[in-house]
């Protein structure tokens, strides 16, 4: 065999090996999802008698419709959507305003206030939970949209991220805008926000992702099942009888579909948002 042939062979083997490895890893990651789908569509008596099959047995795809109607999933998803939308819009507004102030304005105590805001990153929601639940109760906000959303309307992360982005805007642009007679509001709307759209988009997406998946806070400030978010409906379903386990599993699948679609459509933006802070550039 000529040297060239051997090199080609080596490369082909390496490529094949790569594909094999990647496929194997994909199977490992997706296996739980596959078994979950099998579990959902197999009627309970099938696996109670024989253990769960690897492939669907007597598949009953109606389980998704059943889960939808049995668990009030439509209402819960609408509520979760509303909560996520309010939190996302609120966080964008507070982050843009505060980020702008720290990037473009001069005011007394600026550095101290920035540190005060940033320091809340060290203060996880789990720590303040007990006290905040009491505050929400005193405000009469248990089982309400304000209770579910208001404490999450401002975060140090969003402010920090946007301040960094705004600081990257060339000062010449600011000067040019000033010459054109732009006030702060017009400069913000016409220049700063459009230029920073990619970062703002990423922030919006990961905020929405977080709000949709949030569990502990909604769990703590709701008492009435009709205020259950999607995630709480899953809890309700898993604590029920074993016979209805396939409903819980089907509901979990349905609840993840919107996020999966979001992830597929905005993969790049979401990844940029998630890795902000970890990776420069």
């Amino acid at each position: 065999m000529a040297v060239g042939d051997r090199r080609v062979l080596g490369r082909t083997l390496r490529t094949t090996g790569s594909y094999l490895l990647l496929s194997l890893l994909s199977v490992v990651i997706l296996l739980p999802v596959w078994l979950m789908i099998v579990r959902a569509v197999s009627p309970p008596f099938v696996y109670i008698d024989r253990g769960q099959p690897w492939f669907p047995v007597e598949a009953d795809w109606g389980v998704f419709a059943d889960a939808w109607s049995a668990s009030d999933l439509g209402r819960a998803m609408a509520l979760s959507l509303a909560v996520a939308a309010i939190i996302t819009v609120g966080q964008l507004l507070t982050s843009i305003m505060a980020g702008y102030a720290f990037a473009f304005l001069d005011f007394p105590l600026k550095r101290i206030l920035f540190v005060v805001i940033l320091a809340t990153m060290l203060l996880p929601a789990e720590v303040t939970l007990v006290a905040n639940v009491r505050t929400i109760r005193e405000l009469g906000w248990l089982d309400s949209l304000p209770g579910l959303t208001v404490p999450s309307l401002a975060t140090a992360f969003g402010i920090f991220l946007l301040r960094q982005t705004f600081l990257g805007i060339p000062p010449e642009l600011r000067d040019a805008a000033l010459l054109d007679g732009f006030g702060h509001y017009r400069f913000l709307r016409r220049v700063v926000v459009p230029i920073s759209r990619p970062t703002i988009g990423s922030l919006a997406l990961i905020t929405m992702l977080g709000a949709w998946g949030s569990y502990l806070w909604p769990r703590a400030v709701t008492t009435d099942p009709s205020w259950n978010t999607v995630q709480l409906v899953l809890r309700q379903l898993t604590t029920q009888e074993v016979d209805s386990a396939n409903l819980a599993v089907a509901a979990a699948i349905i609840s993840a579909v919107p996020i999966l679609v979001l992830l597929l459509v905005f993969q790049r933006q979401i990844i940029r948002g998630l890795s902000a802070g970890a990776v420069k550039g």
Binding site: T15, L22, S26, T128, Y215, S275, G277
Partner: protein, 273 residues
């Protein structure tokens, strides 16, 4: 422009801190109608007490069960998917897909797999949810799986910042692919790994959803993480204890973040030097 932010963070981040201290010093009666002074002694009593200690211990074990394995798996996935191949985007999408799964959804995934009554692997002894010695492992598994996507995308993003020329230069110097990875790539992405480590540690230390859905804290309280214990202490009779535990947890996560940040800022490579 800052006002909304300052009000919100004031009311929901700083006020609760002082409020927790107050709640720790005063204990309400059974109906929550009157409070009596219990003083700093309450802090000592709770923070040295059995419940807090086991909560910290279980949460710490949970961190050890999830973070090192999670980081390693994420690194393996990212190294495997960081190459130029046709269709590599498909694999990258698959590897990042668990981002779409919330903590509750991944708990249901593993509920369907390892629940002792209904799970395909419910009788696998080393991660049985029915055995106090192993239940935490089962819970940890769902957390590892859920975080795989996040870990993968962050490590991959870091890998993509490593300049090709550097790797080519290392190859010319006779570095094989293993040495290129350990001597060039890993040092360069260590800041991202450190960041990820902190994020994963803090979040694992505070896990709640997986625990509540998979085991409800059982069997025999063996999976009652610190947050789980705090969550259960919200009635008038126990809220004072819950508040002190919250402050204890704050101290621990604070120290955790600080220690790891200072340690890693010395060891990791930030370029330039």
């Amino acid at each position: 422009m800052l006002l909304p932010t300052l009000v919100l963070l004031g009311v929901f981040a700083y006020f609760p801190l002082t409020r927790l201290v107050h709640m720790g010093l005063w204990r309400p009666n059974r109906f929550g109608t009157r409070e009596t002074w219990v003083g700093p002694a309450n802090f000592v009593e709770v923070l040295t007490g059995e419940d807090f200690r086991t909560g910290v211990w279980i949460s710490a074990r949970y961190v050890l069960l999830t973070v090192p394995i999670g980081l390693l798996l994420g690194l393996v996935l990212a190294l495997a998917a960081h190459r130029r191949l046709k269709g590599i985007r498909v694999f990258q999408t698959v590897f990042s897909s668990t981002i779409a799964s919330s903590a509750a959804v991944s708990a249901v995934v593993f509920y369907s797999l390892i629940n002792p009554k209904i799970g395909r692997f419910g009788d696998v002894s080393w991660l049985s949810l029915a055995d106090p010695d192993t239940a935490l492992r089962g819970v940890a598994l769902s957390s590892i799986w859920q975080n795989l996507g996040l870990t993968f995308v962050i490590v991959l993003a870091a890998l993509q910042t490593v300049p090709d020329e550097l790797l080519e230069a290392a190859a010319l110097d006779g570095f094989g692919s293993v040495r290129r990875t350990t001597k060039v790539v890993l040092p360069l992405i260590s800041p991202a790994l450190a960041f990820l480590g902190v994020v994963l540690m803090v979040s694992a230390f505070q896990s709640f959803a997986q625990v509540e859905l998979l085991t409800g804290g059982g069997p025999a309280g063996s999976t009652e993480t610190l947050v789980f214990k705090i969550f259960e202490r919200q009635s008038p009779g126990s809220i004072s204890e819950g508040a002190v535990m919250s402050i204890g947890m704050f101290a621990i996560t604070f120290v955790m973040t600080m220690v790891q940040l200072t340690l890693t800022s010395r060891k990791v490579h930030y370029g330039g030097r």
